[in-house]
Symmetry: C2
Subunit: 150 residues, 2 copies
DNA sequence: GGTTAATAGTTGATTTTGTAACTAACAAGC
DNA sequence: GCTTGTTAGTTACAAAATCAACTATTAACC
């Protein structure tokens, strides 16, 4: 009977289970920043990510964004449509390969991007500020490893 | 013109942006394990989480699960219904406060839980194995801090 | 003790995501 | 050059998440 009870928890602690912890931390880290792009520009997370990538890397195709951001192509397709509707990006058909199209931010899109990047940078600094510089650097390395980005 | 170009990237690197990194890592950590509970038991993430909590902590109310797991009550309500349909849990109305009900795993539910917990534990060990014991411990602390669980 | 507010949980409507099938364009093999 | 296969991106339909409104019960206050 004592055994039945002990089997409940035993060697397993929720607050140490990495997938759970990663999810909780990621959720929380997204939340506050989400309020900004959602509140100011009515943007979804997918849209923010596409805008972000185009702002950071300049002209890209949907496929390239998908690879970098690890987003499915349907998500990207929809985000691109929305961003185009709002005149934040323009598409240009690739004349060498007419299946593909190049995406680039409009001046309006760049303005939005720069605004949000500022917020993002200071938010990142705030999160990093929870740790020493060495710890924060190590954290980034470990997350890159976990994410398979190294 | 050189300035326009430099404004693209400048001081901001995607692979160092914590919300992005956390999301990518969390996504990847969930994915592999999701295959197990989905494949073996046709369970959704929400259902797995509820089952997991009941397995770990024993009898709980939906509200308590919501607080611990940081899940919205509608998600829990639906996950509980599904788990009940599959006879993995039973509900008992609280006679002192008849609005609340106590949820507990059935023997069948406990069997599923124990199976999945084994897989979860070894998966967690595999992830932790990417780092030294000290690093892994530090990672957990940092994630707890980021998640606001400390 | 009767009215009002708060709480546990459910349900329905809307939005967003995921999956599969699709179109259009290109590539390879013969 | 014509079949067959592949790729970029879209669309349609199903599944799931979100948000608001709802029921039933309890607590608070006068």
């Amino acid at each position: 009977m004592t055994n039945d009870e002990s089997e409940k928890n035993d060697d397993f602690f929720l607050q140490d289970f990495l997938p759970f912890l990663l999810n909780q931390a990621a959720e929380r880290a997204s939340l506050e920043f989400q309020g900004v792009y959602k509140g100011r520009y009515g943007m979804l997370r997918t849209e923010w990510r596409v805008l972000f990538h185009l702002g950071l890397f300049g002209e890209m195709t949907a496929k390239e964004i998908g690879e970098r951001a690890r987003m499915h192509k349907t998500k990207i397709s929809r985000a691109v449509s929305k961003l185009e509707q709002r005149r934040y990006l323009k598409r240009t058909r690739d004349e060498a390969d007419r299946r593909a199209e190049w995406l680039a931010l409009t001046p309006a899109g760049q303005t939005v991007y720069r605004d949000l990047r500022k917020v993002a940078a200071s938010y990142d600094a705030k999160l990093s500020g929870l740790f020493s510089a060495q710890e924060a650097a190590l954290l980034r390395h470990m997350l890159q490893r976990l994410a398979g980005l190294d």
